[in-house]
């Protein structure tokens, strides 16, 4: 981190507080310098800490902070750090049920480069976003939770509906880790045969259509964990077959012989639980939908980690 970078950061922070506090760019820069150079705090963290100090002094909420009017307009795929004030143009891909009164709307925004979760707070008192509409959103704040980014709409956000459409890009992620859990409703399942209804039946019942003659399918809901982040992964029929080497016909025979469908999930569990995989696919809400899966059979190379271990 060079002097001039800190200077830039200090100038930006100064702009945000110049109306509320008697503080000079030099004072802010000095605080940043102390944190970064003496205490070896990462620059993001230093910036956050300094901003918090001034928020306290000015008696302001983080929501009161504008981006100084001069935010960068970013593509969704570019968002890779928390606590940034940005402008985005995006389509509302999906609205989810808000699980808390504090949240007015929650869902998925998308542009050509990818998708991102958004949260709109009730107290921010903003107009409703419509599913499928495209908006220019100014002054939203980025956030991060367990490695996944989101944007928060706040009191200072401006929402302008645009008369255009956006082709939302697929944003495939690639994850690597150990398969640490297999969730219920995995293995050989039955789905509702009604048109456009693919719900998984529970004891022969569809939650929408009641008792129906189900259609057999294979799928696995699993948890892949790399020790830092947790991913819930859904494998469809094709990827489940690839992952386990058991196809639908075989699975039905196994279930028939045992008079029990759960033997399929048990057999699959033995094969895949505790193994390492690389999974590629788009994200949907909190899930990764596996398009490609590869078992990591080669032992990892210890050399690079050993060099790091010896250097600290």
């Amino acid at each position: 981190m060079t002097e001039s970078d800190l200077r830039t950061q200090a100038t930006e922070i100064h702009e945000q507080f110049s109306d509320q506090l008697e503080v000079t760019v030099e004072e802010i820069e000095e605080r940043l310098e102390t944190l970064v150079n003496e205490y070896k705090v990462p620059t993001n963290e230093a910036r956050r800490s300094v901003i918090n100090t001034y928020l306290d002094e000015a008696g302001m909420d983080r929501d009161d902070l504008g981006g100084g009017g001069g935010n960068e307009h970013v593509d969704i795929a570019e968002i890779d750090s928390p606590e940034e004030w940005v402008d985005i143009t995006a389509k509302v891909v999906d609205l989810w049920d808000a699980t808390s009164d504090a949240v007015a709307q929650v869902g998925l925004l998308g542009d050509e480069t990818g998708t991102i979760k958004f949260t709109k707070w009730s107290k921010s008192d903003l107009p409703s976003l419509e599913e499928g509409a495209v908006y220019n959103l100014r002054n939203v704040v980025t956030d991060e939770y367990q490695g996944r980014f989101s944007v928060k709409l706040n009191r200072t956000t401006t929402i302008e509906e645009l008369d255009e459409d956006i082709e939302v890009g697929e944003d495939d992620v690639e994850i690597e880790g150990a398969l640490v859990d297999i969730q219920s409703d995995s293995g050989l399942i039955k789905r509702c045969p009604e048109e456009d209804c693919t719900r998984v039946l529970q004891n022969g019942r569809c939650s929408e259509h009641g008792e129906v003659e189900g259609e057999f399918d294979l799928r696995i809901k699993a948890v892949v964990d790399d020790g830092a982040d947790v991913y819930e992964v859904i494998f469809d029929k094709e990827t489940t077959e690839e992952l386990t080497g058991i196809d639908l016909e075989e699975a039905q025979e196994m279930a028939m012989d045992a008079l029990d469908t759960s033997v399929v999930a048990d057999e699959m569990t033995d094969k895949i639980l505790g193994q390492y995989y690389s999974v590629t696919g788009p994200t949907f809400g909190r899930y990764v939908l596996a398009n490609e899966v590869e078992q990591l059979r080669e032992p990892a190379d210890p050399e690079a980690v050993l060099i790091k271990a010896r250097s600290i």
Binding site: S100, A178, A228, V230, G274, A309, I312
Partner: protein, 197 residues
């Protein structure tokens, strides 16, 4: 803040550090709130993932079956795991497996105080599966990497909550765990250096 309850990450930790993680805490007063152990390198753990060599199994139960498994990491340090009637699948794995075998264990850290006042740390398994050597080797490299990441954060962060907690609750130099990581990695290099028979 997330709208869906998120699952706890399975931390990667060698047995030397895990067995030192004797301090436990909760994040809320709720009776059902999850219990965390504090890793001496300054992170909380509510779940761990371990791959090692199962060297011994034993039914230590008095009235009903209660299986103890000893799982050894490349440094020769041992994790203890216990499974009884509430972990039927894991218990039956311990009953059926023939040591020695490589196993992958996902489980919750548990502590108990002995009559002598020592605190023992063990794993209550959610699952136990038999795996191959490649999985074990991959786990060793990954666990070394995660351990080093924690040590770096420990050394560099002044304000991290769990780093601070570890400084307050333990007097355990992170150098022990750096050395555990180095030794584990070196053991892999020796293996690969051996000529094929």
């Amino acid at each position: 803040m997330s709208s869906v309850p998120t699952r706890e990450v399975a931390k990667r930790v060698f047995a030397r550090e895990f067995n030192d993680a004797t301090y436990t805490f909760k994040e809320s007063d709720d009776d059902r709130a999850p219990v965390y152990v504090l890793l001496p390198t300054g992170e909380s753990a509510n779940r761990i993932f371990v791959v090692g060599t199962l060297t011994e199994t034993q039914d230590v139960g008095e009235d009903s079956e209660y299986w103890q498994g000893r799982i050894v990491d490349p440094n020769g340090d041992t994790y203890f795991t216990y499974a009884g009637q509430y972990q039927p699948e894991a218990a039956s794995m311990l009953r059926e497996l023939e040591p020695p075998a490589y196993v992958a264990v996902v489980g919750k850290p548990r502590t108990y105080e002995t009559d002598e006042g020592d605190v023992n740390v063990s794993i209550r398994p959610e699952s136990i599966t038999e795996v191959g050597e490649a999985v074990r080797d991959r786990w060793v490299v990954e666990t070394a990497e995660r351990t080093l990441d924690r040590i770096q954060t420990f050394e560099e962060s002044e304000h991290d909550e769990y780093v601070q907690m570890a400084r307050d609750e333990y007097d355990l130099p992170t150098e022990n765990y750096r050395r555990a990581a180095v030794e584990a990695l070196e053991s892999l290099e020796e293996e690969t250096a051996e000529p094929a028979p």
